[in-house]
């Protein structure tokens, strides 16, 4: 059975699209047939992060309106052959996305794919609600920062009350906490929320911690999901998180500040 996984957060700019691209690529690298859908209608960006922006012909709205067939809108990744991308449209008409339309697309994708990832837009409006409505699992992306934690809490409430599973009173959506842009040095200095505090407040299982890392910007510049950068801490952290998502046990890494040598402490040093 295909699993529908929403990557959501409430707040914008916390790393949903970065994480969607990384997770989709990671699952596909592990041999899972994976499709990642951009739900951010009007502000398409997943295509850029995945590096397929030049190949977009049709988008999710063209499919819903019947202008194109689903397999014509799907972009097959050239690096990982089990990975496909369904782009969002650039139309300003947000009503172009309908529940019935999305349902048909997900049902059709479920025949061919193991994982259907939904990259949610920010907010708790229509687009975000549609992205999470059909979810079996949710990856809640949170930064160690007060407003992000509060928004994550709100989106958890929405998952528990307004998802299809909730409406049908079935087994609830399985929730995972993904803490991103984590800066251990700032946490140690007391400038940012501690991991334990975030977990205590949200009280959902921790899937992974992705460190704040310069490699994320580099990855988006070149359109290569950061998980493909096996050298980078962020890439390794995403690889671990994908393994945990698939049921493996992996200790959490990159959650403590590097002990700097005297030279580095004097002159500073930057994370890779």
């Amino acid at each position: 059975m295909a699993q529908v996984v929403v990557v959501t957060s409430g707040k914008g700019g916390v790393g949903k699209t970065t994480s969607s691209a990384a997770f989709a690529t990671g699952l596909a690298q592990r041999g899972k047939k994976t499709v990642v859908i951009d739900f951010d209608v009007g502000l398409r960006n997943l295509d850029l992060i995945m590096g397929v922006e030049r190949r977009v012909v049709f988008d999710i709205v063209n499919v819903i309106s019947g202008e194109a067939r689903l397999n014509q809108a799907l972009i097959r990744d050239k690096r990982v052959d089990t990975l496909s991308i369904l782009p969002a449209s650039q139309t300003r008409d947000k009503d172009a996305l309908t529940k019935e339309g999305v349902q048909k697309i997900i049902e059709e994708l479920a025949k061919d794919f193991d994982y259907i990832l939904c990259d949610s837009p920010a907010g708790i409006e229509k687009g975000a609600l549609l992205a999470l409505y059909f979810a079996d699992q949710a990856i809640v992306v949170t930064n160690p920062e007060v407003s992000s934690v509060r928004d994550s809490d709100r989106i958890l409430g929405v998952l528990q009350s307004r998802s299809k599973r909730a409406e049908e009173k079935r087994e609830p959506v399985k929730e995972h906490l993904l803490v991103t842009r984590f800066d251990p040095a700032r946490v140690e200095r007391g400038e940012m929320l501690k991991l334990e505090d975030i977990q205590e407040i949200l009280s959902i299982p921790l899937l992974g911690v992705i460190p704040e890392s310069e490699s994320v910007l580099k990855a988006s510049n070149t359109g290569t999901p950061v998980i493909m950068d096996a050298e980078s801490m962020a890439g390794q952290a995403y690889t671990d998180a994908v393994a945990r998502f698939l049921g493996e046990e992996k200790p959490h890494r990159f959650i403590e500040a590097e002990k700097k040598g005297i030279f580095k402490r004097l002159f500073g040093g930057r994370a890779a």
Binding site: R55, V57, F58, N221
Partner: protein, 96 residues
Amino acid sequence: MSWLDYFRGRRQEQPASATAAKERLQIVLAHERIGRTREDFLPKLQQELIAVVARYVAIDPGKVNVNLDRGGDMSTLAIEIELPAPAAMRVAANAR
């Protein structure tokens, strides 16, 4: 950049990835800006092409693939239409 950077061996150079970012953006935005003032012609182009081909051959509209690669100087649009076996083509021709 401070003088200390010389000791650390860091040189002021344009990182390669930022150059890639600029090039990618220039290409995709050039195309998107055109799209904002003019309606996207691709869905219509595809429908009309299918209609023309269907006049000659019985094709399955689901077996039509459109591939696009946007470039700076040149874009390529590849339309791949799977044609049925010769027997089915004869039937279509006779039906006309």
